[in-house]
């Protein structure tokens, strides 16, 4: 009989115990029952009242806890995003973590000049193409709030069409209101080959935001309900950053952000039971000196790890998270430290969908070099979270015997065991420099920023994105022109 293999512990992080998770959840329910919220969408309000919510004389809606529990029970636990060719590439179930870019940066660090400038439509294309090429980047967001779109009210349709042309990976999309979201959906169905095909294999997820504290604008709810009806996966964080939209203390900020997410979930499940919903309130922190929402702080990493724990204890729904971003103005040591901090912790806590990779300047500026660097950091983190497989092959007793008892010149480097295992046994970096000093100096002493810049330019010049069919592109252009 064969011995039972030794299971590998996959390193994993916990930051909340069950008592903490339950207490935060209970607080969120109490916020909804006692403080209530402002619902500005008449249809959503009708649904909520019909389901058992009460509107009190202050105009605020109070929600009973059982509605939350019902919505949590009906939302699916096995949400997946597909790529644009129909492959299930992002199963958003509990142990998987996927990384992708962010949206709406006003500026970018120009890959040619190194200067910060206003973002343009071509940057959307460049980020989509580089992300398309990178192994560890699973999905795209626009990364830009381009200055050169023909009409700003349709900005989200233009950036979506640009992404469709330059990547086949899944996408997280933003919209302003029902109208542009409908157009984006129409284009998505076109790419998928029909509405049924899209709904079976969705490749877009809509990111929408309510307003903390506890305000649900009409256009935001309009998008949420549309996504529910069309089974477009959705998430609805609310900007409950500690000290700004929410209390300065993380437990309270989480309770508020979760309560807001739960309102979204209830409306969403009332609109259509079983439509996919990602959980995640984006609890970062408002910097107390500069009043910016930090994208490099330890707080955000901590609250999303806590949310992943609450998923495991209570919610069961996939978790929306952030990572690979920084508050630094250039891709310097701060950027590297902050990016890696959120990448490794989001993976160790098994957040499911991690966006905002490649942001600098607290999300105001994008950087292709950051994206390329983050790809390497995700690879390192992945190696770490794969743990240490322990078995006959990896214990390598034969190799130890051979080398230890071999001739004087025997070294492990020369042994067959090394040759057979090194690709899996080691993380093989592509951008991190381990060269000898003289060789590095002769190469022009390139720092990580320069190496990432070179790599980003190489991808832009070499990577071919499998193009959409001419008929899809033509129809999409016609739709966009009709705006």
């Amino acid at each position: 009989m064969k011995p039972i293999p030794i299971p590998t512990l996959l390193p994993r992080m916990k930051v909340l115990n069950r008592e903490q998770a339950l207490a935060i959840h209970t607080a969120a329910l109490e916020i909804l029952e006692k403080t209530g919220f402002k619902m500005e969408h008449p249809g959503a309000l009708d649904m909520l009242v019909g389901a058992g919510c009460k509107v009190l004389s202050d105009g605020r809606v109070r929600m009973p806890a059982y509605l939350v529990e019902e919505a949590l029970a009906s939302a699916p636990r096995q949400t997946a995003l597909y790529d644009q060719k129909g492959s299930k590439v992002m199963p958003l179930v509990d142990n998987n973590t996927f990384y992708g870019t962010g949206s709406d940066a006003t500026f970018t660090i120009d890959v040619e000049t190194g200067q910060r400038r206003r973002a343009l439509l071509k940057d959307v294309a460049n980020f989509a193409r580089v992300a398309d090429a990178l192994e560890n980047i699973a999905f795209n967001m626009s990364m830009a709030n381009p200055d050169d779109v023909p009409a700003v009210e349709n900005i989200y349709v233009y950036v979506f069409a640009e992404m469709v042309k330059h990547t086949n990976k899944p996408m997280v999309v933003i919209a302003d209101r029902g109208k542009d979201l409908k157009m984006i959906y129409e284009i998505a169905c076109l790419v998928a080959g029909g509405e049924e095909e899209f709904q079976m294999k969705p490749f877009i997820l809509n990111y929408s935001e309510a307003i903390s504290p506890l305000r649900f604008p009409e256009n935001v709810m309009e998008r949420l309900i549309f996504c529910a009806e069309k089974a477009i996966p959705v998430c609805l964080p609310s900007g409950s950053n500690a000290g700004g939209g929410a209390p300065i203390t993380l437990a309270g900020a989480m309770a508020l952000g979760i309560s807001e997410n739960l309102v979204g979930l209830v409306v969403h499940q009332l609109a259509r039971k079983g439509s996919p919903f990602l959980f995640g309130p984006n609890v970062s922190t408002l910097d107390m000196k500069h009043s910016v929402v930090s994208y490099g702080c330890p707080e955000w990493s901590l609250t999303q790890a806590a949310l992943a724990d609450m998923r495991d204890e209570l919610y069961g729904l996939p978790v929306w998270a952030y990572g690979g971003a920084s508050d630094a103005k250039t891709m310097d040591a701060q950027a590297g430290g902050e990016a890696m901090f959120s990448i490794i912790t989001s993976m160790l806590s098994r957040c499911n969908l991690v966006h905002d990779v490649a942001f600098l300047e607290y999300g105001f500026t994008s950087s292709l070099e950051m994206l390329v660097m983050a790809d390497e950091f995700v690879g390192m983190s992945r190696f770490f979270t794969d743990g240490i497989p322990v078995n006959e092959g990896t214990l390598a007793l034969d190799a130890i015997q051979r080398v230890a008892c071999g001739e004087g010149s025997s070294i492990f480097l020369m042994d067959d065991h090394t040759y057979e295992h090194f690709m899996q046994a080691q993380y093989l970096p592509t951008l991190l420099d381990r060269s000898h000093y003289d060789a590095w100096e002769q190469a022009g002493s390139p720092d990580l920023y320069r190496r990432c810049n070179t790599e980003a330019k190489r991808i832009l010049s070499e990577h071919q994105v499998e193009p959409k069919s001419d008929s899809v592109l033509k129809e999409m252009d016609e739709l966009v022109r009709s705006l």
Binding site: D104, T106, R118, N145, V152, E153, I155, D176, I211, R215, P217, G239, G243, G244, G245, M288, K289, H290, S291, V292, F364
Partner: protein, 212 residues
């Protein structure tokens, strides 16, 4: 004259109880109201502003100091004569039409108030005609607009146009800000000033009005 040093220190510390008590004592000692403001409260706020700009003070501390000053002013108000207090300037502020975000705008309001400006806040989702109507009513020195969404930014030039049509554009300075707003955009729509954050908004407002 009543010694105002303790009052100044209380403003810096954000110690509302002590500051209010000291203001009352100063009044009881028949100290001139203008002296209480100019030699007691303002030096405290100046020190707070200075420490903030050096990174020694955090936003909540500055806001607490501003609140402390406001509580003292409330006490002094009944003793003031017309034209006694010179504000640094009147500011009409709001988040533009279609946009419901107010944290950034509120922060600018509070910082400006703390720096000695008089603020009229129109709230969020403010249509151009409302800016115009209120500007005609209160005759502000500055009209300040905020937008968080790129899709609501176009309300800014529309509002500026509305001010022009109403014939009051040259009587006010227009300041804009918000996440998608840039210096270049401010120039394009012919606003008078742009600020990237609340602290910069105060500096910009002072510069536009030529006050310190």
């Amino acid at each position: 004259m009543y010694e105002l040093k303790t009052l100044t220190e209380a403003v810096i510390k954000g110690d509302i109880n002590t500051a209010v008590a000291e203001t009352q004592k100063a009044l009881d000692a028949e100290t001139n109201v203008n002296d209480i403001v100019d030699k007691g409260l303002i030096p405290g706020m100046d020190e707070v502003g200075d420490r903030f700009s050096k990174g020694q003070f955090f936003v909540p501390q500055m806001l607490r100091s501003a609140k402390t000053m406001q509580e003292c002013m409330r006490l002094l108000h009944p003793f003031m004569k017309e034209g006694d207090i010179t504000t640094k300037g009147k500011v009409l502020i709001g988040t533009v039409k279609g946009d419901l975000h107010d944290i950034g705008k509120n922060l600018v309001s509070m910082m400006m108030e703390g720096a000695g400006f008089t603020i009229t806040d129109l709230g969020v989702d403010v249509p151009p005609e409302r800016f115009v109507q209120k500007a005609q009513e209160i005759e502000p020195d500055i009209v300040a607009m905020s937008a968080l969404l790129s899709t609501t930014m176009p309300s800014m030039p529309v509002t500026i146009e509305a001010l022009e049509k109403a014939g009051i554009r040259d009587k006010v300075k227009v300041m804009i800000g918000g996440a998608p707003v840039t210096e270049k955009y401010a120039q394009e729509i012919k606003a008078d000033g742009y600020a990237s954050d609340a602290g910069a908004a105060v500096t910009k407002a002072k510069k536009l009005l030529g006050v310190s």
